[in-house]
Symmetry: C2
Subunit: 194 residues, 2 copies
Amino acid sequence: MNFLEERIIRDGEVRPGQVLKVDGFLNHQMDVALLEEIGREFKRRFGHKRITKVLTIEASGIGIACFAAREFGVPMVFAKKSKSLNVGSDVYMAEVESFTHGNRNQVIVSRKYLSGEDRLLIIDDFLANGSALQGLIAIAEAAGASVEGLGIVIEKGFQPGGKLIRERGFDLQSLAIVDAMDEETGEITFRRQE
Amino acid sequence: MNFLEERIIRDGEVRPGQVLKVDGFLNHQMDVALLEEIGREFKRRFGHKRITKVLTIEASGIGIACFAAREFGVPMVFAKKSKSLNVGSDVYMAEVESFTHGNRNQVIVSRKYLSGEDRLLIIDDFLANGSALQGLIAIAEAAGASVEGLGIVIEKGFQPGGKLIRERGFDLQSLAIVDAMDEETGEITFRRQE
């Protein structure tokens, strides 16, 4: 097991409805030393690629993406949910469905901050159905930017998002892939990865 | 001028309606080296206090709060807007008005992550009317936690939030206080601070 899988076993909680709660260290209370280690791990996995920007989506992706961007020495851009009065009309937009919140959001990125010159590392905390990632990929494509890699902290391997995105040919890497969770015993089964 | 004021002069934009756009480096695209420097500056200002947690509010506070928390070696907790299906009912709640978005949100923090033992540094990117900060203070008070300090990146000194919070006796420090913005010339006047 890697450092993240060990932490999930120690502090994660399996809840009814195939929910994995990691809000004690990843997406409500954040262990910033862990986030820093996650950033270093993404650098180890994608460091051979030339990356010009890290792209993520608010809110819980932001912390991880900050530490990844710091490792690469590049700016981080986060897609914003819903339309802010302060964001101009000159934006890339995608529609994203939230499994967690049970709703749909438009997410936007200002055209000023993505261009055809950009080589992106897309980062997010969770991957389940893949709607957020597909939205970020659509935004990257609309900007003409290349998606060099996608780095996920926790993938739910029993949901279709990861498979769909890998089948499109993207270099998607998840630090932990949960293949099964037992709601009775709390047992979590990770996919074996190199 | 300090490093932040210099950056605001260089890359900030004054827009109609007393809007200061800093989304090229602070709250949409993020210059993580700048965020790190902001984190170090908060450590310099509040480092004499014992802090057990950094508290902020999603979304644009998260990056700054991460780097501040890293300097202090403590966890970061961010208040979530609206009720997620994944957050239990056992939460502290406050109502917050967004000047930027023109709406009201309930913000919540799980009771698990704040306690009467906590000594908090509250962090946010912007302070204008102070609604978000007052909400975070209310949540801290509901938890019985002490608010040791509040660190803001940019305060709009011509709006009442900062004055109201300082009058309540809190140690509120803003790295840049904008006392006036000229929409015609784009000129920004900062308050002189020690």
